[in-house]
């Protein structure tokens, strides 16, 4: 054993690659037939300013390691935050022991060596400037964001605060085919959560934020605070409406949730178990003609971008739905084998457990209309700005969620509404997306323009 494993210091960067490979070797030497090791290291900073005063200040770093071992067709995994020699030894030993009691699964295993690799070139995922501001300046960003919201209107007298967050991460993956890959990511954001109070004392809260991998690309605190204030104010005076069936428009922040249901529905894990109503529908029409959904893990700077997936396979661009036809599920090695298909490099690996499936940058291709044009085409309808709760059943497609938003009357946004529900079934909803906006913006890995869906039931009075 090298003495480097005993050292915990600033040179951990080089050590992580060697450490991951050493652990893989240790597992193989201990009797594993295949092994995979993930090491994660990261740091974070966050501050919350409320009513102009610093409320919290948090700063720290952490690291952890996990290993997945195979004993023929039996798999097991362990993880640890203990990087001492004894801690690492115990982690490897436990994994080897556990792999004796799991079942033989004919589909278990790591990818073939020929599939492994990493995208080359700068994917624009890491910028040190997220930590470039001195502490007081970071606090000032948070303060300015909140102040812009508080100053916007006298009805905004309270706030849950303005925040500034920054984080970086470093991930290393090594396996027994000799694959070693690593990448770093950075992240920063500002947000404001203002509270408005109407004359009758009733309060409403909303938020707005800006997020980026680099400080320089954050929207200005003043702009973020202003939009947060506007969104909060437009909720004042919200009322219930009568139960009815009307067109429903999902705004740009809410529409990604619909797309996320599609993601969950085409997730290989749900498909092979028949736990999704889209199981067995490859090649069939599952949505309207104008629906094209892409998953792309290669977009530079994207929130869902990485040079390789959780199993060490280079990410790619996959057309999931093309003109309404289901072209591809999203898969990892295991689910691909179960379905007799090829992996789409969507493996998502935490520290422990079997790899799941995660999105790259996942989006609905935009249409031609502006959100205003979509709204203008509706004489009576609902514009949803927030959902409450999760009532979605991927097995049956049943959909029922609490909502709030604005009522559409005569092609315009009018009074705010709350304490209502939106109900339907995803099987029909995907066919009833009748309008798609041109406002595709990425504020996370999943993005969707404003969309209009017909045939839904609004539950109210």
């Amino acid at each position: 054993m090298t003495t480097q494993l005993e050292t915990r210091n600033a040179k951990l960067e080089t050590d992580l690659r060697e450490l991951a490979q050493d652990i893989v070797q240790q597992a193989m030497a201990g009797g594993a037939t295949a092994a995979e090791c993930v090491v994660r290291e990261g740091d974070e900073f966050s501050t919350l300013v409320r009513l102009g005063q610093v409320e919290t200040l948090k700063e720290s770093g952490s690291k952890a390691i996990g290993i997945r071992v195979f004993n023929g067709k039996r798999a097991a995994s362990t993880y640890s935050s203990d990087f001492s020699r004894s801690g690492l030894d115990r982690m490897v030993k436990s994994a080897l022991e556990l792999a004796k009691i799991t079942s033989e699964d004919p589909y278990a295993g790591i990818p073939d060596a020929s599939q492994l690799g990493s995208l080359t070139g700068d994917l624009d995922l890491y910028h040190a400037d997220v930590y470039s501001l001195p502490g007081e300046e970071r606090i000032n960003y948070a303060r300015r964001t909140e102040k812009a919201a508080l100053d916007y209107d006298p009805r905004i007298k309270n706030s849950e605060g303005g925040s500034f967050d920054a984080a970086t991460g470093h991930k290393v993956l090594a396996n027994s085919h000799g694959f070693v890959g690593e990448y770093r990511r950075s992240y920063c954001s500002i947000a404001a959560v203002p509270i408005a109070q109407a004359e009758d004392g009733k309060m409403q809260r909303d938020y707005w934020f800006s997020v980026s991998r680099r400080l320089g690309k954050l929207e200005s605190p003043e702009e973020v605070g202003k939009i947060a204030a506007q969104r909060t104010l437009r909720r004042l005076g919200a009322r219930k409406v009568k139960t009815t069936q009307v067109p429903v428009v999902f705004d740009q922040m809410i529409a990604p949730s619909i797309l996320d249901h599609i993601f969950e529905g085409v997730n290989g894990d749900s498909i092979y178990r028949g736990a999704s109503f889209l199981a067995g529908k490859l090649g069939q029409k599952i949505a309207g003609d104008q629906i094209t959904v892409i998953d792309d893990g290669t977009m530079p700077g994207g929130f869902g971008t990485s040079p390789f997936d959780g199993e060490g396979i280079p990410t790619r661009r996959t057309v999931v739905i093309e003109n309404g036809v289901l072209k591809s599920y999203l898969l990892n090695t295991y689910t691909a084998k179960k379905l007799g298909l090829q992996t789409t490099a969507n493996a998502a690996r935490g520290l422990a457990g079997t790899p799941g499936i995660g999105p790259g940058n996942y989006f609905l291709q935009p249409g031609g209309k502006t959100p205003q044009q979509i709204i203008a085409g509706i004489s009576d309808g609902l514009y949803v700005t927030e959902f409450l709760g999760h009532g979605v059943n991927l097995v049956t497609g049943d959909y029922s969620r609490g909502a709030s938003g604005l009522w559409i009357s005569g092609g315009e946004l009018t009074y705010p509404v709350e304490e209502i529900t939106v109900g339907g079934n995803l099987k029909e909803m995907f066919f009833n997306i009748s309008e798609i906006g041109n406002d595709l913006e990425f504020r996370g890995a999943i993005a969707c323009p404003t969309i209009r869906i017909d045939g839904l039931t609004v539950g109210g009075e």
């Binding site: 409320e55 935050s81 990087f83 139960t243 609490g402 709030s404 539950g459």
Partner: protein
């Protein structure tokens, strides 16, 4: 193995060290500092397609240092318990203050501790093969329930958490917290029709819990029963109607409608719809709601909270009148109210804040059969997924996973899961009947707040809510419920 003094034995920690760390935390001033040491070992297993496809074990350990100066909190943590790392974290947290150093009080006082979940053989030490047997039994029982059960996923997870909390006011608390849980998910299939069911439970218990009344077969059959039932479920109605909630897990209503809104931090900041309502009526006279962290063996219970404060049985609403909030150290200091022992955190990486423990409504006097009989047209909901709340405008939801129509006082057809939505500060004023059959949930609750998850319990007797909006898809037509 005696679990007290865990960190002293495992890491060579001494009281002198603790004093040094606290002094470093207060080196720039501040009113209070604490250290939270945590050592967490976990195991999880999953059976799918009748195979134990995955088994996983892990260790996570670290220390979080908090400094409070006025209303401000500084926080830093380390997963490396070497003295220089903890000191570094302490000095980082100290940056929240900016004044002359304060001295921590001398000596630590450990308060008399409860023992709500003594575990002689903690689950994590028990043979892994015994746990494998549990999930295999669940798989077999679910499949045996009905040939239409085609997919079964059964899981088992347990953890043992050792904590040590020390504060600059002399707080000293240790605890060893077991947690175990089984879960069974089933999918039933017929031609062109599929449905799912889910059941699980556990608590701060050892493995033998699952050999008693709540066996793998118990959860498996319940999960399979739900899946089969859902095959014939009709569309749920949409709109306002009478809703009867069954006992147990439907207590999610309380967690969402009032629980979060009564956490002290929201009320101190006046961001909760319940702010300023102490002493006012927020529920019918039949409603008394408590948050009780002192129940033996329960998932939501704790001997001490994560700030070292003994937990309590706190009355939140008494015969409909709001009595108090759930507080932590910071809230009680800033609001001048008693600390109810509800300061919790997800892990050493997180700042504590007021959280619930076991939140439930006391039994009333009505017979459950009478409650059903009193409903002309409504919904009877007995099982739920989860819920969510906007504590500022008070709107909350919870999603039914098993529900039935009530027509002319009779339970009739099963309906598909629908989300129920209401307004926290007044929904309980419309509770007109409270049954005599209080039950707590089986031990499956996880509460999320501000990005932090903690295990919780909920409970309720059968109750009738006179008016609640049901988010189905079937329109109510005059004269008949469903076409």
């Amino acid at each position: 193995m005696d679990k007290t003094r865990f960190f002293f034995e495992h890491y060579g920690l001494t009281e002198r060290d603790l004093e040094r760390y606290l002094a470093a935390a207060l080196s720039a001033g501040g009113e209070y500092a604490d250290l939270y040491f945590e050592y967490l070992s976990s195991t999880s297993l999953m059976v799918d397609e009748s195979m134990v496809k995955s088994a996983s074990q892990g260790i996570s350990a670290g220390c979080g240092v908090r400094v409070i100066a006025g209303e401000r909190t500084g926080y830093a943590y380390t997963d490396d318990l070497a003295p220089e790392r903890i000191l570094h974290a302490a000095r980082t947290a100290a940056l929240i203050a900016s004044g002359p150093a304060k001295t921590p009080s001398v000596g630590f006082q450990q308060k008399a501790a409860r023992s709500l979940y003594p575990v002689t053989l903690p689950s994590v030490d028990a043979e892994i093969t015994a746990k494998v047997e549990l999930v295999m039994r669940a798989d077999a029982a679910a499949r045996a329930f009905d040939p239409r059960i085609k997919e079964v996923r059964a899981s088992y997870a347990d953890e043992l958490r050792n904590i040590l909390v020390v504060g600059s006011d002399g707080t000293y608390a240790e605890d060893t917290q077991p947690l175990a849980r089984m879960n069974v998910g089933c999918i039933a299939k017929t031609d062109g029709n599929s449905a799912r069911g889910n059941s699980g439970g556990g608590g701060r218990v050892a493995l033998d819990f699952f050999f008693g009344e709540k066996t793998p077969e118990f959860f498996a059959r319940e999960s399979a029963r739900q899946a089969i039932l859902q095959l014939d479920a009709r569309e749920a109605p949409a709109g306002e109607m009478e809703v009867v909630l069954g006992p147990g897990w439907p207590g999610v209503l309380l967690h969402e409608a009032v629980g979060h809104g009564l956490e002290a931090d929201f009320n101190r900041k006046h961001t909760s719809a319940f702010a300023g309502l102490i002493g006012k009526r927020v529920a019918s006279e039949k409603c008394t709601v408590v948050d009780n962290g002192t129940m033996p063996w329960r998932r939501g219970s704790l001997n001490v909270d994560d700030e070292g404060q003994p937990t309590q049985n706190t009355v939140l609403i008494e015969k409909g009148i709001l009595k108090g909030y759930l507080s932590d150290k910071l809230s009680s200091r800033l609001m001048g109210v008693a600390d109810t022992g509800n300061g919790r955190r997800e892990s050493y990486e997180h700042i504590p804040m007021p959280r619930m423990t076991n939140t439930y409504m006391l039994s009333g006097e009505d017979a459950p059969e009478d409650i059903i009989r009193s409903v002309k047209r409504g919904v009877y909901a007995v099982n739920f997924g989860g819920g969510q709340v906007d504590i500022t405008n008070g709107k909350f939801v919870f999603s039914a996973s098993e529900a039935y129509l009530i027509e002319d006082g009779q339970i009739t057809a099963p309906i598909k899961g629908a989300t129920l939505i209401g307004n926290g500060p007044d929904v309980l004023t419309r509770v007109s009947m409270v049954g005599n059959d209080l039950k707590l949930d089986e031990g499956v609750g996880t509460c999320g707040k501000d990005g932090q998850s903690v295990p919780v319990g909920v409970g309720i007797p059968t109750i009738k809510v006179d008016r609640l909006t049901v988010g189905g898809t079937a329109r109510k037509d005059a004269g008949s419920f469903m076409q």
